[in-house]
Structure formats: C-alpha cells, structure tokens
C-alpha cells in the first residue's frame, strides 16, 4: 500500500490532485456543511475549560486561537512574528518590551480594546492567587505598565528569549471589564474575545458552536471564511470515521496512522500528513531518585537501552508519516537543538555487551511507564526484552504519570512532549533538565549550560550553551530520544485547508472549495 510520506507542501499538491480526481457527483447525498455554511469538526479529548488560562490541552490552545488574539502572531509558514493586537514592538533593553497597540479593535461584546485590557489580563494571570493551569507560561513577566491608551510595557524578571513565542500562542488578551465581572467561570460559559470567531453556543466539554465575527480587525490571521464551525467531542476514532462516512463530520485531526492510511486508500477524503514538534523519548532515572541501586544510574545501562530499540523500524512501521528518528533531547527545528551529538544506532548485541559490563549479564526487571501510544510502548517492550531487560508496562493517565514523576517514583518511562509548538529548546530541554521535579538527570553541568542559554539574548552564545548541554545529555544518555511525531488531518473534499507543522488548527484559514 502506498502512503504519501512527504512534507506538507508536497502533500497538499497530492491532496489537491486527489480531490480534483474525485467526481463531484459520486457522493450520493450532499455533505452536511457547504450548503448551510457549517463545518463540523471533532475533538477527541474533552476540554476542561474553554478559558485559555484554565486548561493545558491542545484543544484549548486551538480554541484560544479562534476566539482570542495575542499581542503578536507567529506566522507558521514564514516562522516570523507579525503584529496582531499590537502593531509594533521593541526591546527597550534586555528586560523591557514595549508594544504599540492596534486601534479600533472591539471585543465580541462591543467592549473596546486598549492598554487597560492588556495590563488587566497580564496582572490577572501573573497573580499566583488566580492559579492558572500552566503558570510557567507567564512566570517570566515581572509587571506590566500602561504608558498611554495604546502603549504598554512588559517588564521581565530576567532576559527570556521565548517571550514573544508565548505572547503569540499562549497569552490571549481578555476584556478587562467583562472578565472582572464574570471571572474564569463566566468566561468558560460565555467566552468573549477579539478573535475571528465568536462562541454562540456552548455545552462545556462537549459541544461548541463558533460563528464568524463580523467586526474582526484586519490582522495577520486574516478574515475568516466559513460562517459556522461546529465542534463536538467524540472520544472514539472509529465513531469519528463513521460520522465522516455518514456526512455528519467534515474534519478530523490527530487520526492514527493506520486509520489515515486506510482512509487515504479509499480516496474519498482528503488526507494530509504534517510533521509536528512533538517528540517521543525514554526517560531513565540516572539521578537514582527511585533508589540508589537502580540500574539506570549506570551509564552503560542507559546506553544499552538506547542501543536496544530499533527506532527506524518503529518509525517506518508504526509511527509512519513524516516522522523521523531524533538523536537530541529536542525537536530538530527548535532553536539551539544541536544535531551533532552522540548517536546510538540499533545494535542489540552491543546493548547486551553493555549490560554485561554494567553488571547485568542476565538483564534486570524494571517498571516501564507510559501514558499514550500503547502500541509504540509495547513494541519497545519487545526490543528491551530481547536484550534481557524485562519491563512491566504500566499505562497511566497523563496527569497521574506526571504526579508520579514529580514524586520521583518513575525509574523508566516513555514520554512525549510537544513544546507547546514553541520553536526553541527552552520549551523542552530547559523545562526537563534544570533540576526541576521532572528532572531525572539532576546534572549540574547540563543545568549550568542551560541556565546560560536561557538568560542570554545573544543567539550565538545561546547556541553554544545549548550545544554543550545537549551533547552532555547525549553522551550520558540521560534520555533515549526516539522519534518526532506527525499528525494526520482528514477532511471532506469540499474543504480547503493547509495544515501547519505547529499542530494548531486554524478555523479562520479553512474555506469551502
């Protein structure tokens, strides 16, 4: 079976051809959708709250992009920042960022947008009493000052190179008067933003109806095209596919590769595969947090694990799509992601040798934790078993596994991280190797090098520092980096959409053919 494994652009050409080749009259009844200008889309996970600051799910970030705007916008095709609610910005010094705001922007409820909204929003989210779900996204902000009605300054605690990235995707601007009145619980039921779509109907976690916002400003997102977007939560992929067949759904995303392959072969829908920034890796307890005598404290054992797993085969047969094997503890396109590091090719004989050298000629038994992609975990289980490492697979929910990891009780686990689509190693390596609760290396050299990179604003200096850190991580095999993920998007042939590598759906870029 042939399955397109290419970059987004090439796939789009293919996708376009496939759609063009499908006879228009061949579908029997009309798709629910184009006729009434309603695009029906499915989420797999239930969204905790639509308030962007009170969830940490990908679905939440997606909704955030449609309903709200950030001060800046990260153009996914050019990889450059463009002014959104701010028209221009400047670094006054390493820790002061000044924004000139866009005039004439109105929230969905008619409230005008100005400096007060920015100051209110940032003050609200940086106030620890408000307990937002991911405080790390705003912890770099010291304070926000209003200079005049359309000028604000953000003061930083220390230089923070990823500031604009977070302002673009993770920090939407809220209407100060409305939010002060209704708070997070009100926002979760009746969200109000400046974004291209306004929510008209909402059943928390289950159903969202978004309508095109007629008064949307001429920002970098562009004017939305489709009138109504209807989002439902359908947890089971098979049900989603059945809904696609019956015409009750126009758009699916995050489709597992096996199903996407089958759907592509049917030539009934447009199937596009795009790379994502998510990477999979094995974390080993090098610091001995689960016990001093734990085998993973030995370098040879960690290297043996890295050599034991046939990542090429897993990528080729299971992960598929545009995924690639990785060697560094980050996604290759991320700023500072050094590629010239020690590599551990598949070599079970060498793995056995290393285990014997470490004092485990007959291998050992360990618990192996994972929270998603059970087939991948099981495939690794068999590879580990082949070199003598008997691993008991323990599948947990993401939150449960994170808790255990923070308590220091996980000797060995299969983790994945999407870096919140931030194209900089601060969003991954610096998060997990700076002696935090989820750091199982607790390595001073890595920590020092990352600290140097995180607080410098000179790109060359940062690169050198990160390179040092990532080389040490690879030499010491603190992680066994595995592969990058990919995402499959499946939509009906009447929908035109170009998926991007940041795994963010942009409803405002979707249109009818």
């Amino acid at each position: 079976m042939k399955y397109p494994v290419q970059s987004v652009k090439r796939l789009l050409v293919l996708g376009g051809l496939a759609v063009a080749a499908v006879p228009v009259g061949g579908f029997g009844h009309a798709w629910a959708g184009k006729a009434d200008d309603t695009l029906k889309l499915a989420f797999t996970k239930e969204l905790q709250s639509i308030d962007a600051y009170y969830n940490s799910a990908r679905e939440g970030t997606i909704m955030d992009q449609q309903i709200w705007d950030g001060l800046v916008y990260l153009n996914p095709l050019k990889g450059e920042f463009e002014g959104n609610l701010a028209t221009s910005w400047a670094w006054l010094d390493d820790t002061t960022l000044e924004f000139k705001l866009r005039k004439g922007v109105k929230f969905h409820n008619g409230e005008a947008f100005d400096a007060d909204d920015v100051v209110y929003t940032l003050d609200f989210v940086t106030n620890p009493d408000n307990k937002i779900t991911v405080p790390q996204y705003v912890s770099w902000i010291k304070s926000t000052q209003k200079i005049d009605q359309y000028t604000v300054r953000i003061l930083l605690n220390k230089p923070y190179p990823a500031a604009l990235n977070l302002l673009a995707t993770m920090i939407p601007m809220y209407p100060n008067e409305y939010y002060a009145k209704v708070g997070p619980s009100g926002m979760a039921l009746h969200p109000v933003g400046t974004g291209p779509y306004a929510v008209t109907e909402l059943d928390p976690g289950k159903h969202f109806v978004l309508k095109k916002y007629a008064g949307y400003h001429d920002g970098p997102k562009g004017q939305p095209s489709i009138g109504t977007i209807d989002v439902r939560t359908i947890p089971d992929v098979n049900t989603q596919i059945a809904e696609m067949f019956s015409g009750n759904l126009n758009f699916m995303w995050g489709v597992p590769s096996d199903q996407a392959e089958k759907l592509a072969a049917m030539k009934r829908f447009t199937v596009v595969n795009a790379p994502t920034m998510r990477v999979g890796y094995l974390v080993m307890d090098a610091a001995g947090r689960t016990g001093k005598d734990n085998p993973f404290t030995k370098l040879e054992v960690r290297q043996a694990v890295a050599h034991a797993i046939d990542r090429e085969a897993i990528v080729k047969s299971l992960v598929k799509g545009s995924s690639k094997t990785i060697n560094s503890a980050c996604y290759p396109s991320q700023f500072g992601c050094e590629q010239d590091v020690t590599k551990y090719p598949y070599d079970p004989a060498k793995a056995k040798e290393l285990l014997a050298k470490a004092g485990y000629p007959n291998g050992f038994t360990t618990d192996f934790y994972a929270y998603r992609d059970r087939p991948y975990a099981e495939a690794m289980l068999a590879y580990l078993n082949a070199v003598g490492i008997k691993a008991n697979l323990k599948m947990l929910q993401f939150s449960a596994l994170t808790d255990l990891r923070m308590k220091g009780e996980v000797p060995f686990s299969f983790q994945t991280w999407g870096s919140s689509s931030i194209d900089d190693v601060t969003a991954i390596t610096s998060l997990f190797f700076t002696k935090g609760l989820e750091d199982y290396a607790q390595d001073d050299q890595v920590n020092a090098a990352l600290g140097e990179g995180d607080t410098s604003v000179q790109p060359e200096k940062r690169k050198a520092a990160y390179s040092k850190a990532l080389k040490r991580i690879a030499d010491q095999a603190f992680w066994a980096p595995l592969f990058s993920y990919n995402a499959n998007y499946v939509f009906t042939p009447d929908v035109a959409y170009q998926p991007t590598a940041d795994e963010l759906l942009r409803f405002y870029k979707m249109s009818w053919k």
Binding site: N238, A313, E378, A379, M395
Partner: protein, 297 residues
C-alpha cells in the same frame, strides 16, 4: 443409604451406562464437551499447533489479514496483530490464560463458598445468620466495579486478576450449597450417621457432599465462565492481564482501534471467547440434566 451402597447391589455399569446414554443424547452437553475439549487441547499443545512464538514481533509484517482475506500470508493463517505477532499463536497461548483464570478463580471461590455454605446449611442458627450476612454484603458489591477498583489500586497482573476474581465469585457457591445442605441435613441417613456417633466432618464429607456435588459442578462451570468473561472485560479495560501476555480480552481491546477497517482483529478472539463461555455453560447445564436426582429414574 448412599450411592455407594446402591452401587454394590446393582451393576456399576448400569448407572454409568445410563449416564453415558443420557450424555450422548444431550446435544448441548456434547457441544460443550467438544468445544471445551478443543480449547483444552489447543491450550496444552499450543507450541505444537503453531510454529510461531506469541511474543515475537515483526514490525514489517503488521496486521496481515487471516487466510480467507486478500493479501494473507500462509505463514500466518490467522494473520498478525498490530505489532506483527502471529494471531494464531496468540490465540492458542491466550486459551491457556483464559482456562487458567477460569479454573483457578472458580476453585478459590468454590473452596470459600462451599465452606461457608455448608457450614451455614448444616449448623443453621447463628452460623447461618453470619454467613447470610456475609453473602448479602458480597452481593451488595458489584463484582466488576470492585475488581476494577482493586486492580486499579494494586496494579493489574495475571495473579492479581485471578486472586481478586477468586475472592469475589464465591457468593453463588455459598447460596447454592447452603440450600442444598439444608435439604439433605434432616434426611434419615444423616440422622443415622449422627446417631451412631460419626464426627461432623465425616458426616459432611461422606454423607452430605456426595449427594449435593452435582449442584457444585453446575455452579463451578457457571463461575468458570463468569471468571473468564470478567478477565476479558478487565483486560479489555487495560486493568487485567498486562501486555505482552496474550489474553483474549486484551486482543479484543487491541483490535478495537481498527474496528472499522480490520474487523477480524476483534471478531476472531471475540468468537473464541463466545464459544468457550457458551461451551462451559452448556456443559454445566448438561451435567446437571444428566446427574440431577430427579432425572435418575
């Protein structure tokens, strides 16, 4: 008088012959015996029936369809699973797991339930009150929910599942045994044994038990089937037998993802599970039919 006494007076062959005649005439029973026989045979001779190792993965030969579908590979007559492991081999080794769980869990339950039930039925009074209370407590707890909770807290494994099910499925044994013992404890031969000074243990074991053992067999088969189904349910939810151990419930769970495009991945282990549970139930029903005193003629 007991059956042993009758046996000395009448030719043994008559009773056995009678049983066999009834058994051969009982379609359900024959079906049960044949299917169960096939499963037991498959479980015992699994390594001879399949050349493949059920744990051997081959990522390049994933999800090969079974022999009746296009694109199949004769090396894997029932196809391969999502990691390229031979489906037939996993099915055969999975039969071992199902039978093991059924037999061991039902045996644990049998010991617990029979002890309680016989004690309650024989002694009556306070003992009966206590046992009835225990049975009520047990009945108030939904088996699936309790086993889910216990396994979720203590972690899933084969032994854990067997243990939990064994400790949960004794209620029917207790209820049936209690009622059966109550029926026979006042009969003449029991009183006779009492009057000549037999010990309680002797009375229970050699006077009462032989007369109610057919009920026990029926409950035993019922609970075996129950345990096998529960194991499949727990494994399906990811809380039972842990991968890579082949278990039919786990195979169904693994096939679920591909339900729409590769329905055989669920259909094959599902059909096996269905057939096994049906066979055990029919066997139990049949045994009751041919051995029940009212049918002895």
């Amino acid at each position: 008088m007991s059956t042993t006494q009758t046996a000395t007076e009448l030719p043994v062959e008559t009773y056995l012959g009678q049983l066999c005649r009834r058994a051969f005439g009982h379609r359900g029973l024959m079906f049960g015996i044949v299917v169960l026989g096939v499963v037991i045979f498959a479980a015992i001779f699994a390594p001879l029936l399949s050349a493949h190792d059920p744990y051997q993965q081959d990522l390049l030969a994933r999800m090969k369809p079974p022999f009746w579908m296009e694109g199949s590979d004769l090396a894997h007559p029932l196809g391969t699973d999502f990691l390229g492991r031979d489906y037939l081999a996993r099915l055969l080794y999975g039969a071992r797991i199902s039978l093991f769980i059924g037999i061991v869990a039902a045996s644990i339950s049998c010991v617990i339930g029979t002890t309680l039930g016989v004690a309650a039925g024989y002694f009556g009074g306070r003992v009966d009150l206590v046992v009835t209370f225990l049975v009520n407590v047990r009945l108030a707890m939904p088996v699936v929910l309790v086993s889910l909770a216990v396994v979720a807290i203590l972690g899933g494994s084969l032994n854990m599942v067997v243990g939990v099910l064994g400790l949960l499925l004794w209620d029917r044994f207790a209820v049936v045994m209690r009622a059966s013992v109550m029926q026979v404890r006042g009969l003449e031969y029991v009183n006779a044994a009492k009057s000549i000074g037999c010990s309680t243990l002797r009375i229970v074991l050699s006077e009462i038990m032989p007369n109610i053992v057919n009920n026990l067999i029926v409950v035993m088969t019922l609970e075996m089937a129950h345990a096998i189904l529960l194991e499949a349910a727990l494994s399906f939810l990811g809380l039972g037998v842990q991968p890579p151990t082949p278990s039919w419930g786990l195979m169904i769970s693994e096939g679920k993802q591909m339900l729409l495009f590769e329905p055989w991945m669920i259909a094959i282990p599902g059909a096996c599970l269905f057939a096994l549970v049906l066979a055990i139930n029919l066997l139990g029903d049949g045994l009751r039919d041919i051995t029940a005193p009212e049918n002895r003629g």
